[in-house]
Point group: none
Chain length 220, copies 4
DNA sequence: TATGAATGAGTGTTCATTCAT
DNA sequence: TATGAATGAACACTCATTCAT
């Protein structure tokens, strides 16, 4: 009874430490990229000694993995509804808008997420695989949506389309983050949405004879 | 007459060494990215001592710069016509095909090019500028083509469209290179082309009433 | 109260390490001179890894600067009184004796000091300046003493005499350090003092009427 | 008969090469000191390939040794008379003047000589010994002169005086070379001579009662 | 004989990781 | 649990020296 609070507090303190370290890591990864980020720099940013860092993470890779995982989780929790909800009934532009808006929003607030995804090439061996988990997860969601819209699409086609869609989104997010906040960024966001909508629209056209209703409205 | 062969041979050997070193660098950059690539690893890959590497390049950056420059030059020389030629009269799908086909082809044969473009963020100082030159150059070409097709498009819109287009192409190239050679790769190539065509098609449609002739025919 | 000892011990350890490293550096500088001394050799001599050395000094230069600074400081603290004290009233031989004795003593105990002064030409950049500071400081003191004795001497003459005096002292110190401890060294010390006394004596002869028995007539 | 000229020419050519290399070495040693001078830099300065350098000298040390030896020889040949000639009958100031003047002159024209003597500390192992030969040779000459003047001086005293004298001369030469050409340098030269004369004068005074005939007459 | 490309051990320095406290 | 000093392998780069031509 008298022993219980301690472990709890410890756990709580540990959790805080981890959060603190991951925030520091996010900040450093954003500034320098994964491979140029030093664990000592992360510890310093977290106002913690290197030894402490290694009490919570076995190595540098693990930090990136955990950070990536948490960010993904966070994204899912905060905005993930977009995927699952009933907006599958919406016309494509609105659907894309509903899905992309929170994603874009999240990435603007957590630029480390993108940095990590791009850096995964630099990450050696096992880490890359775990990182790919994040990637794969997003891919899976996209593929699911596509599958629901066009159930007739063969699996490998669906995979390819999902890949391409995610590629476009990532490329667009880069541009969005690179744009200065303000109208320029808004315009870039709009452009990204257009790109996705236009890419996906033809998939949904069940009848080549019918005028292309679902397609994008006139551009820009 | 008796003096000439020596220097020439020397130069020839030097040229060969440089080529050999750049090939090794390309290979290592592909495997590990720029920043994780060590000069010793490059030398080892080239079956050469570190000292030899430094007889031809003053530092690590210079290797990346020279490799990037040569690849760009090579791309321009081999396939650059695509942009300049008369295929501006072609319908969009054929135009994209004509332009993208050699670019894809080149990147398949020289995967280091993409690796270098992705890594350019990690490259410090002057190199980054030169690398950005590559990026900027491609961007400029795309913007030119767009400008010719849609002269009415305001400059900043044109820039954004060029950015987005290049982003899609780079993302697509990543997928193409990641795909195993064979039908899977071909399909990915086709998907990339579709993505570009669909993204650009609406730009060219002056008349929303007219049936969307220039647009892609039903996909897949 | 329970928090204090740790940092203090840490600091104490750090201070010890620095001392240890500087001792090792002194030893290596003595054996090989500044430029031939390698940081790894210094670390090895200090029975420490290279990384540890760099935890306390940002680079090789800094080691020399710190060592030089400490030695100078030490010399000032231990023996510096010689210059300032009332022994300006002593006759020249006693004055030279009073000033030189501790200097010689110090250099015998800290041969690195001389090694560093000789090597200062090899030391690049900022360090050289700091080292010159040591040199300049000693020069200034000598010039001060001369100025007090012969206020009529023009500034540039005074500078030249100080230069020459310091030169003689440094040359003599080299000989002293080269001599085996014992009577040989004592004799060399005596010789150095004689050289300085004889060089300076003529300067101090206030009365040109008195037959210039031993000396030069007033110089230049 | 037809064979003879070739070897001679070869020898002649070889001699020229060596001279050329030693001149280059002198120049580089002067600029950077012995240990910072790279053999490649010497070869470059001599407009010769590194391989050629190593055809004439087995290693870097040998270059310094040979250069030192030649400079000494040259000094002996050009100005050495000073030591041997009849000016032993001159009063001390004139003697010192006669001996020092050409030495100073030579060192002004061949600053590498001094650079080499100072650098001998940096020179490892065997080389230092050979370099000391130069030093020892000069020492011997000085000791000889002293011996002739004061035959009663015990050998070890004589050695010490010679050491000190050479020390003063070297220190003075440093100052002379450091002074800008012109009156400043002349004044420094005069100061050096004074230092030597004053140091040696008392040695020659057999009788403190007798007026100090041998001592310096009015200075400079 | 002369070349200059090639070598490889060595330099100063960094950083992911460990360990005594 | 937290510290930060300590480690040592690795990095980018240099240079005295060798060797194929």
């Amino acid at each position: 009874m008298s022993e219980e609070p301690a472990p709890r507090r410890r756990q709580a303190r540990g959790e805080r430490r981890i959060t603190q370290l991951l925030q520091a890591a996010a900040s450093v990864f954003c500034r320098t990229g994964y491979s140029a980020a030093s664990t000592n720099a992360i510890a310093r940013e977290a106002q913690v000694s290197p030894g402490t860092l290694y009490q919570y993470f076995p190595n540098k890779e693990a930090i990136a993995v955990e950070l990536g995982g948490r960010l993904l989780q966070q994204m899912r929790e905060t905005h993930g509804l977009a995927f699952d909800a009933a907006n599958l009934d919406l016309p494509l532009p609105e659907l894309v808008d509903a899905v992309l808006e929170p994603v874009i929003d999240f990435n603007c607030r957590n630029p480390a997420f993108l940095a990590l995804m791009h850096g995964s090439g630099d990450i050696p061996g096992r880490i890359a695989e775990e990182h790919d988990a994040v990637h794969a997860s997003m891919l899976g969601r996209i593929a699911d949506v596509i599958g629901k819209f066009v159930p007739s699409l063969p699996a490998d086609d669906r995979g390819r389309v999902a890949d391409m869609t995610l590629g476009i989104v990532k490329a667009g997010l880069d541009l969005v983050l690179a744009a200065p906040e303000g109208p320029a960024r808004e315009a870039t966001v709009a452009e990204l949405k257009k790109a996705v909508v236009r890419y996906l629209a033809p998939l949904l056209e069940p009848d080549p004879d019918a005028p292309a209703r679902l397609t994008t409205t006139p551009s820009s």
